[in-house]
Symmetry: C2
Subunit: 141 residues, 2 copies
DNA sequence: GTGATATATTTAGCCTGCTAAACAATTTAA
DNA sequence: TTAAATTGTTTAGCAGGCTAAATATATCAC
């Protein structure tokens, strides 16, 4: 019986995360963004001019993924790249005006999505949920 | 303060699901499988000979995604496709012996991953977690 | 039976992701 | 100072995932 509960949890988690991704992705399309790109932009809104290596660490993904994302975002005019003057290996990423303007609408979509997701879940439950997820995360080393 | 908790939950969820996927994916590579393919095979282990349309509904993804996955799995010799005799539009998917043999090792990896993830989380907490995730899922319509 | 509509799959072209390997610039060490 | 090692980025090629449009077959209506 216990095993069944666990199975459902993993299944549920996968199902929920896929659904969340799709749902959020759909909203972002209104801004001509793909899911994940908002994350990269978010880092830049905290302060741009950081390197691709730093982005790769912050977003927790591999350098080639950053290369691709940056290429796409640059192509759509949200960011631009500038070679570092001191170290010619390094690319520094900056926001364009168009990229800066996205901060508010993305934030709004994010909050709306959040509200929708957590509707009718109490503060206590949210805190517990957070604790359990942190536990699970640390379980994966 | 409450808003902060919510933000962390969404962030945590994304982070955890990415980590889970990576972790599980890594284990599956030992079997020469990619994450997601186990899901398709799982459906076939329940009974093969179903159509791509049915797979698409069960896996909750679009038909072109199934086309690609099926192509890759066929190429690696885990499944084969057969055109339906009654309806020439339909492709029916069957397991090869090689595909059937994967059931046990995949199941074992899945269970191991499950245990690792839910370590030190009590039955009560698991039940609550399940309830909350079901709630969140239904919140997304 | 022919024409219009519906259904199942594929293709093309994007996206985030990955790994392995190439490439370029900088540091380190002999 | 020159060779070797390290660091940051890119390329190539693969995966799952998507949408829009093409294709092929079936069915339905006249």
């Amino acid at each position: 019986m216990e095993i069944n509960v666990d199975c459902e949890i993993r299944e549920l988690f996968d199902k929920l995360s896929a659904k969340m991704r799709r749902d959020y992705s759909e909203s972002l399309r209104e801004l001509n963004l793909y899911v994940g790109q908002d994350n990269l932009l978010y880092r830049l809104w905290l302060g741009d001019g950081i390197t691709q290596m730093q982005l790769s660490e912050h977003l927790n993904c591999e350098p080639p993924t950053i290369t691709n994302m940056v290429k796409s975002l640059e192509h759509n005019g949200f960011i631009y790249r500038k070679r570092d003057e001191k170290d010619a290996r390094v690319m520094r990423i900056f926001l364009t005006d168009k990229g800066k303007e996205l901060q508010e609408p993305v934030d709004s979509i994010w909050k709306k999505h959040q509200e929708k997701l957590l509707k009718s879940i109490s503060t206590d439950e949210r805190l517990l949920l957070r604790r359990l997820m942190k536990q699970m995360e640390s379980n994966l080393f």
